[in-house]
């Protein structure tokens, strides 16, 4: 045998084995991808799950980018500079307007939200959404000079007219910090609505309005009622709680120069109706709340949509200094709406009180006060008005850009590139898809419309089941979903690919399904979403005494009376760490009045305190109600032997269940 023949003899089995291994590997990986994705698409491959979404290590460095994601804008009083919070870059950007360039990047806390300026232009205050703090920035030295603690999830802020007090809306703790700027300490912590967000000071300096994004607790299967909290700026006490009915997601707020009206952006959900159709505004409509001052002042709602076109996710509102116009950013529609305020007043004056409900639902009214729709870049959020009222600046959050809009011509006359990465990563592409409503019929809603910040809007929906009006489901968070399949309360969906695939298009968005690459990008983005740090956990990770006692109850095997609790009925059995779910279906006696079945997927318990209401249909307004009102048959864990203080301890422990690493 020659050397060549020997090589062939030896190499052939090797080659065959290699091909067989490759074939088997491909077969295995295809099987795995199909099983995980829950569909049989031939073009599924390993990259979306294992490469494009890698956050750490070499792959993370190669495939991920650190974007700026500008959120809110403050304009210097001399009109020469903008200050922009870069939410994903943990920085405050200083922008020189005439050169349209970024002068400086000042590091602040995590996920900065809002920036406000002192009148002398020497100090900025930045709320740090994930740090629970406000950074005081010396704009001369361009550095943080002081940082003071506020509540959890600080968002909107405003200075009082004397600049002695800073009001901060704490979205996580549902309260409002009143911060003494001289001492840097909170004077008061005022109870707010649910998930307070926008803050504005009335032109006379007497009142502070704070919007809320989520509804106050309401009886089961009744419309949301969301609060605008009114604070007396002299006494620093809450004087009114203006209830806005059948609306939520109130984010932006601004006053007319005369202070006779406050405008708030809002969403009017139709969660109590079966989701059988979208046309005609049967899922969501978007509008403005118009609030007259004083306890007896009216609260009107008007829509910004048209009969066949919807403008999703209104975020911010800015009134021109002459009080003639208001600009509203629609984050889900990549668009600004401009309204004529005198025309709007005309509509309000001509509407009898008895007709305000019709006004709030009428899709034809917008033509009477909307004067323009202006297309913007991706995801317009915070608005800033130039002091002379000639320009509106728009933070295009997912374009890393600020657009400059002429108030006269109602056109974009320029933009400022903030210097974010040029490359659009796979996850960023998914982020844009998540926040854009163009994948729903008539662009009626984006994923974000019901999942603000990737979380939940706290509503229960009637998502068409075999009988209309049955099987309503509590909206679930999308944070940290990777590895938590199956999805939905019924566990019907083996993967997010299935959840967001053609069935989603057939029964929810009611238009064309996502193209496969888009679906992959969307899932990649959703899998990248993470919880903010759990505020009930100490920095050291050590449990408080109450949490420690609660943990022992959570893990116990014996009742107070010494009777053994069957393993299947122990908390820890179905809710094991690290995500506190065993991902299995159980009937724990929570079947409700609208349910046709009692079998539900076991939910994860991470950052549970952010996810009210509770149970699969949202019947329980608080964690306590899970057992005190609805689970007192000892099928959802054994609890009837617990004392009140033991139940309190259990809940303290549950609230402290944070994500691995606690998001820090």
């Amino acid at each position: 045998m020659t050397g060549r023949q020997r090589t062939i003899v030896l190499a052939t089995p090797g080659a065959v084995a290699l091909l067989a291994a490759l074939g088997a590997g491909h077969h295995y990986s295809a099987e795995h991808a199909h099983a995980v994705a829950g569909n049989d698409s031939a073009s599924l491959n390993c990259l979306p799950c294992h490469v494009y979404t890698a956050q750490d290590g070499l792959l993370g460095k190669v495939f991920q980018e650190r974007y700026l994601s500008p959120r809110e804008i403050a304009v210097a009083r001399d009109g020469r500079r903008l200050y922009v919070t870069a939410e994903e870059d943990d920085a405050l950007l200083v922008v020189q307007l005439h050169a349209r360039t970024v002068l400086d990047r000042i590091p602040v806390g995590k996920h900065p939200h809002t920036v406000v300026l002192s009148r002398d232009g020497r100090t900025a205050y930045v709320s740090n959404g994930w740090s629970g703090s406000v950074s005081q920035v010396d704009l001369t030295a361009r550095r943080v000079s002081r940082e003071f603690a506020v509540g959890d999830g600080p968002a909107g802020m405003v200075l009082d007219s004397e600049e002695r007090v800073l009001y901060v809306a704490n979205g996580g703790t549902n309260d409002i910090s009143v911060v003494d700027l001289e001492s840097g300490r909170e004077r008061h912590r005022l109870a707010g609505g649910q998930n307070p967000h926008g803050v504005a000071l009335a032109p006379d300096g007497d009142r502070v309005y704070v919007t809320s994004r989520l509804s106050n607790p309401v009886p089961f299967r009744t419309p949301p009622v969301t609060e605008v909290t009114v604070v007396d700026a002299r006494t620093q006490r809450v004087t009114e709680r203006r209830q806005v009915y059948a609306a939520h997601m109130m984010e932006g707020v601004d006053f007319t120069p005369r202070g006779d009206l406050a405008l708030v952006t809002l969403v009017r959900p139709k969660n109590l109706l079966p989701a059988t159709q979208l046309q005609g505004g049967w899922m969501l409509t978007f509008g403005l709340g118009v609030i007259e001052p004083g306890e007896r002042g009216a609260v009107w709602q008007v829509l910004l949509d048209d009969a066949n076109a919807f403008y999703a996710d209104p975020y911010d509102v800015a009134v021109t200094p002459d009080g003639k116009r208001a600009f509203i950013s629609h984050a889900g529609a990549d668009l600004l709406t401009v309204i004529d305020l005198d025309s709007l007043r005309g509509v309000l004056v001509g509407t009898a009180r008895a007709d305000t409900a019709t006004l709030a639902n009428h899709l034809g009214m917008s033509r009477r006060y909307v004067v323009s729709r202006i297309r913007t870049g991706a995801n317009p959020k915070g608005l800033g008005m130039s002091p002379d009222g000639r320009f509106v600046y728009v933070a295009e959050q997912l374009a890393d850009r600020v657009a400059i809009v002429s108030v006269d011509s109602l056109r974009i006359v320029g933009d400022i590139d903030l210097g974010g990465p040029r490359r659009i990563s796979f996850v960023r592409r998914g982020q844009r898809l998540f926040h854009r409503a163009d994948h729903t019929f008539q662009e009626q809603f984006s994923c974000r419309s019901c999942h603000p910040d990737g979380h939940t809007d706290g509503l229960s929906y009637d998502i068409e089941s075999d009988l209309l009006g049955r099987n309503v489901v509590n909206n679930l968070t999308l944070l940290e979903l990777k590895g938590l399949a199956p999805y939905k309360w019924t566990g019907k969906n083996a993967s997010l690919y299935r959840q967001c695939g053609f069935r989603f298009a057939k029964f929810f968005t009611r238009t064309e399904a996502y193209a496969e690459e888009d679906l992959n990008a969307l899932v990649a983005y959703i899998f990248s979403l993470s919880y903010a740090p759990n505020r009930y956990r100490s920095a050291s990770g050590e449990p408080t005494p109450a949490q420690g006692r609660g943990r022992r109850i959570f893990e116990r095997s014996l009742t107070n009376g010494g009777r053994e609790i069957p393993p299947a009925n122990r908390c820890i059995t179905c809710h094991p760490p690290p995500r506190f779910t065993n991902r299995m279906m159980f009937d724990v006696g929570t079947r409700g009045p609208t349910d046709t079945d009692g079998l539900f997927d076991t939910p994860a318990l991470v950052n549970l305190y952010e996810s009210a209401p509770y149970l699969h249909d949202g019947r329980a307004a608080t964690l306590e109600e899970i057992w005190t009102r609805f689970g007192n048959e000892d099928r959802h864990g054994v609890v009837t032997d617990l004392t009140k203080s033991q139940l309190n301890d259990l809940i303290e422990f549950l609230r402290a269940l944070g994500p691995p690493g606690n998001g820090r």
Binding site: R221, T222, P223, A246, R268, P269, K270, N271, L272, L273, P274, T276, Q277, Q279, G280, G281, W282, T285, L303, D306, A307, N308, A309, A357, T358, N361, H362, L363, G364, R367, F441, Q442, D462, I463, E464, S465, D466, L467, L468, G469, K492, F502, R503, F504, A505, K506, F507, F508, R510, T511, E512, A513
Partner: protein
């Protein structure tokens, strides 16, 4: 030498294959970009029965033909695309610009049917085998075709059908007794069409939209001044719908018509007339990329409709593109690639023989109560079919109802008081598709009113079966 010869032969063979392939590609290629082809219908001016109005003589003009003309040709010369047909009209180009649908008949005694032509080689195929008469085809987003059909010749009623275009059976998607003609597929995938009562000439016509499976039917536009839709409407790039309206404003039997634009976002209340300043009449139109319109227009006192370019901003005719005194030039289309509309997933399940209808408040209506009833609020809902009463159901305390009814069956609804007197109604004919679930805010309510967010009382219970006493078969597919 032998090896070299072999290589030479192989080379020649490869070249031959490449040449044949290249030739095939050349033959199959659409026309070069930059020279779009205009396609339109020519109707003989000596056809005394055709006047550009409504009625069977207008929908099926004798010896009409479809012709093509290069947009940049100066001589106005046309090429007949349907030379093998006795009559043809209603051209519609596919989104990829390569195929043409039209209605036609090869011989004088044939029924009018739907044909598809490959524009590169002129080959045609029949899409609607069978005895019925068919017209006004349009491509759906998924490649299927929507068309108007009249299965028998005894009636003027036309329903909409869809077909996969493979010679497979037709699926009917509208079920009332009206004439549904002039289909157009909007960018969002909905089918926009003209619907008019079959038993009334030139009255009550309006534009409706439906999803391609016939679900979600609703009013799109109805003229406030009794004008009549003049046929197929078109969508522009700036999301307007442009169309021709005839009659109205005290006009007599008016043929031809006026150019009208609607904002797609609010079609019922955004009508703008584009041809105020132009005397004469318009027959049909097609939007151009430039923002101008290609229009079929006849000057006041003129004999025939010719093709012009029209500037809708200046309201000015820009110039004639085709003018042959022997023919009317109507129904222009441009053979060019355009954006594909969006697709829908159908909820229709043919295994389910019923659909569901629910209403939030049947007493919410813009109609005044009937005089015969002393009540202003109905107590019960009555449903009638073609053959009479199908049943009654009490309204819930909040005015809501939730019923299941036979699918694809035209019915009318009316509210009645406790003495059985009609309070409001009857409604127009409506129907539900198999497995469709449709909700209404009220009965004859303002169509721009979004629903209030509350749980209708009627949805606390099971649906009441009307018109059939059987439960749902098949179960349907739910999320």
């Amino acid at each position: 030498m032998k090896r070299a010869k072999g290589r030479l032969l192989a080379g020649v063979a490869i070249l031959a294959v490449v040449a044949v392939a290249a030739g095939a590609v050349w033959v199959a290629s659409p026309r070069a970009a930059g020279a779009p082809m205009l396609i339109f219908t020519q109707i003989r001016t000596d056809d005394a029965g055709w006047n550009g109005g409504d009625g069977p003589a207008q929908w099926f003009p004798d010896r009409s033909r479809i012709v093509a003309m290069d947009a940049d040709a100066n001589d106005g010369g046309v090429r007949v695309l349907t030379a093998e047909f006795h009559s043809a009209r209603a051209p519609m180009v596919s989104p990829d610009g390569r195929r043409l649908l039209f209605s036609g008949r090869r011989h004088e005694d044939d029924p009018w049917q739907i044909w598809e032509m490959r524009l590169n080689d002129g080959r045609t195929r029949l899409l609607t085998p069978g005895p019925g008469w068919y017209t006004d085809p349009a491509y759906l987003a998924d490649g299927r075709v929507v068309l108007s059909g009249r299965p028998g010749a005894a009636t003027d009623a036309f329903a909409l059908y869809t077909t996969a275009g493979t010679g497979a059976g037709l699926m009917r998607i509208t079920f009332h007794l009206d004439r549904d003609l002039g289909s157009q597929v909007l960018q969002d995938g909905q089918v926009l069409f003209v619907s008019s009562p079959a038993d009334q000439v030139n009255a009550g016509a309006r534009y409706l939209v439906t999803r391609p499976d016939g679900t979600g039917l609703r009013l799109f536009y109805r003229s406030a001044d009794q004008s009549r839709p003049g046929g197929r409407a078109w969508e522009t790039e700036d999301r307007r719908v442009v169309l021709v309206e005839r009659g109205g404003r005290g006009s007599a039997a008016g043929v031809g018509g006026r150019l009208v634009a609607l904002a797609e976002a609010r079609p019922l209340h955004s009508r703008v007339e584009l041809s105020d300043r132009v005397a004469g009449s318009f027959h049909s139109l097609h939007p151009l990329e430039s923002g101008n319109l290609l229009v079929s227009y006849r000057p006041a006192g003129g004999r025939n409709f010719s093709l012009y370019e029209f500037d809708p901003v200046a309201q000015r005719l820009e110039g004639v593109l085709s003018d042959d005194p022997a023919y009317h030039a109507v129904e222009p289309v441009v053979a060019a690639k355009r954006a594909r509309p969006k697709t829908f997933f159908s909820v229709v399940d043919s295994a389910v023989k019923i659909g569901e209808l629910y209403c939030l408040d049947a007493n919410l209506s813009s109609l005044p109560p009937a005089r015969a009833s002393r009540a202003s609020m109905g107590q019960r809902l009555r449903m009638r079919g073609l053959d009479g009463l199908l049943g009654e159901v009490p309204l819930a305390a909040d005015g809501s109802f939730y019923i299941e009814l036979p699918a694809d069956l035209p019915v009318t609804l009316e509210t009645v008081d406790d003495r059985g007197q009609v309070v409001r109604g009857p409604s127009a004919w409506l129907w539900v598709r198999p497995n469709e679930r449709r909700g209404c805010v009220g009965c004859h309510q303002d169509p721009e009113l979004a629903p209030a967010n509350r749980v209708p009382n009627a949805l606390m219970g099971a649906p009441v079966a009307l018109g059939l006493a059987r439960s749902k078969a098949g179960g349907g597919s739910r999320p």
